[in-house]
């Protein structure tokens, strides 16, 4: 909770019971929702969609990429952007190396510099989650 990227818990704007129900729940981790994503949508309904172009791991479980208890990476990501993406993507239309020194480079937001709609795109030409 004291990591650089964190929920506003130590600031007193959130508490454990905002996400967990200590009296029991329908799913694992005593989450206060049917699924983990249902809990997340409680504050992030803009991520709920459904979208025309879905990103399967996002639809299934936000914690595939985010650590809600905080991390040392921006956006509470599990690892640095680009490396996180390359956990799954190696062959997606351009060379997949950390140093691909064009707009898909590691700086800024990494792959998200272009693939800005990683949570899902609603653009008719958004198959690559760039629009």
């Amino acid at each position: 909770m004291l990591q650089s990227s964190h929920m506003p818990i130590k600031e007193g704007k959130m508490g454990c019971v905002d996400c967990h129900n200590p009296h029991g729940s329908y799913g694992p981790k005593m989450l206060a929702g049917v699924t983990a994503n249902d809990v997340c949508y409680g504050c992030h309904a803009e991520k709920r969609g459904p979208f025309l172009w879905e990103h399967a791991p996002v639809r299934e479980d936000c914690s595939n990429c985010h650590d809600p208890h905080g991390s040392n990476n921006p956006g509470m990501l599990e690892s640095k952007s680009a490396f996180l993406c390359m956990s799954c993507h190696q062959f997606g239309g351009h060379v997949n190396l950390p140093r691909y020194n064009r707009v898909s480079s590691l700086t800024g937001q990494g792959c998200v510099n272009c693939h800005n709609k990683v949570h899902g795109s609603n653009h008719p030409s958004g198959s690559k989650l760039t629009r």
């Binding site: 650089s4 690892s79 490396f83 956990s87 898909s104 700086t107 629009r131």
Partner: protein, 867 residues
Amino acid sequence: MSGRIKVPTIAALAFFLAPSPLLANGDQEDPADSADVEDLDPPSEPARFDRDASVALGAAVVDQNGRSSKLNEYRDYSPGLYLDRLFYSVDDALTGRYFDLRARRLGRDDADARLEFGSFGPTEQRGTRGWSVDVNWNRTPHLLSNSAQSPYVYLGNGRYQVARSVVDAIQISNINDARSWTAPDAGPGRAGEDLRIARVLNDAVRPIDLGTQRDTGEIGLNLLISERTKGRVEFKRDQRDGSIVTGVGIGDRPPRSVNVQLPEPIDHNTYDFKLALEHVGRNYHVDASYLYSRFENEIDTLTWNSLFHAPGFFRAGAEDYDAIRAGAGTLYATNGAIALSPDNTAQQFVLTGGVTLPMRSSLTASAAIGSMKQDEDLLPFATSNFGGTQNPDALPRRSAEAAIDTTMFNVVYAINPIRRLNLRIHYRYYDMDNKTDQIAWFGNTSDSSSRSIFSQRYNIAYDLEQQNTGADISYHLGKLGSLALALERERKERPQREVMVTNEDKYRLTYRVRPADRTSLTARISTSSRDGTPYNGEIVDQTYAYDPIANAGNANNPLGSFGDHPGLRRFDVTDRERDEFDLSLGFIATESFDTRLSYRVRRNDYDSEMVSVINIWDPIRQGFFDAPVDPTQLGLLRDNARQLSFDLNWAPTESLSMNAFASREIIKLDQRGRYLDENNRLFGAVTRIVNGNLDWQDTTGQYIWDAAIDDRTNTVGLGLNFAPLGASYTLEAGYTHSLGKVAIDYVAGGRIVEDDSTNVNNYAEWTSPPEAKFRTNSLTMHWRQSLSDSWAFGLRYLFEIHRVTDWQQEGNARHQDPLSPWFVRDRDPETAGTSQDRAGSRLVRLGDLLAPSYDAHVALITLEYNW
């Protein structure tokens, strides 16, 4: 700290416990019946009304260097006056009615308030009838930067514009533009093009706001309908506005894309309506809830004009959305558009029931059905220059028509068949049924005209069906503690994923014991194995609109390509061996001293059985064949997280208490990747060997890279509370230290080929970056001094040091992506016009380190009055 604030439920409890006026009058019970009463003084009649109130005015003084937004990321420490605290409470002992109002930091961006009023009913009805209304209001800022700058000006309604003069000074006529060839270090008096562009940008940028403000209001009605039945109706509005960082691009992919970071405007409203009912019977309980949620985004689209191309500069009529094509007849779009979060709705109904059965057993079941729908109007196709597809009539459907239905069923049976033995059996079913129609959409690549079949892609409606079946058995061993064993099988079906079915078997053993008085120990070890075979290598083909027969000879036919490398097993669906270990040791030395030590390990290994042959289509031979593939595992290979934490509480006297905690977390991840040249991936058996002996997947292993990520965090905290009995003051102090480090050890087989950044050797070359560090030290102190029965003075002091070093956020140039040697090009001018020409790293950023380091002193002075 004020001791006057009390929780409404405590007030309510006091009502139940306080002697009733009726009892005090002796109408129902004779005091003489109680032997103890004779020795007591006659009870004094309690006051009917209990009132309590306080108000505190605050003033903040802030001394911060650098104005970093990080200090106020989720709080408002701006200097000035505010209402620090407001509290009013009144209870009527006779009628059971009460009113309670409390608020904090009014006038600030992080204010919150709660109002609650209601009735427990007259004494004789308490516990059987009652109602209450609660109103909550909560403000939460999320400040992202005080230093962001952009050459763009926000015109409102999602529109950004950069001045024509800036575009004229920067614009690139085409990717072979000779103006872009002057290197940054061209020599004295010959400022390079990149430096000139940097100056243009630095002159053009203006400060912009970056951050959001969330305001949440909620009103709820609670009804105690009977002794066993209660309900709640709730309405919540969550409003969020401001802006966040987004990257936007014109063009379908590098090097044909030009990018800028922009503040994505946020103007969101979410409305939630909830209804809940609960009934508890003699040996059963049932509760039901219904949720309707609606999300509305007031800004549907983000549009911007290109920083790189002005209308009519290259060719008239190229002002439409998002079209860049290389080569002859190149068109450069001068406007871009992306679709922002669409309006959507969700509903969910949940029914839960439990019943106590014979033989000390119980059955609990839950069922839920839900739906999520989204039908936002769609934007035109992106590559609108080709075939007039900017007309919305060209869309296969005008709105998204996206819908997902969910179903959940959960049942648990627990029994205590014999003494000391507990057995629990559970089953859970969850289904996510995506009902969105899958059709072909145009304009997904600008390799060809937008209506071409090669530019069409199918949207995939991802589904998930999950079943968990398991049993837990535990046995109490008396003084030796208890032992529990849990078994579970998890089955997931994902018809549109790289692995269509995964089965995971989980085993968990838990041991709890109290080896000595005041000492407790819990140890848990679990292991699981997920089977993710076989690999569905054809899954990517589903997204293409190619006709396998009509396009049998086309080089880009997905049947003839490894669109998804078979060596890459997506970590969330692949084979996985998982081991977990938890140890917790608690020790209560005395009533005033306790301590706990915890250690946990989470370890995943994603190694899978790789295939070495895959059957694919050969567009030249017009037939399927077995193509050899390198079975090297790629992607995330394994991760290992360990955390050790320790906490201690000590209260040596009634006046003094102290606590301390420390934790150390180490996360290690191993990843692997390789150079894959998409242009060489086709025609498997025929032309796999190209560029000398380099095939598309480079089976020599020369271009494989490995990255070992080491992410560790150390935290330490100390707390002190000193409240001498009878003294007029209290003291609190706290200190926290957090240090996070992320190191990446990158090893690759590549070697640098000077002046040839397009050489594959250079692709693989990338050195380990500097360690990223995040350190925060916070010291807080609070002194509260009572000045009289009514007046009190308070002083809160915060001293905070924050240091951040992060190569990913920093750069050599403030507004230009720094990794490329040059902004416009990344290639030596000597090879101008050759096939190795490449566009540069054309990302214009909002600045580096949007939330940089700072030192800050904050003093909050409060003056409090209590009634």
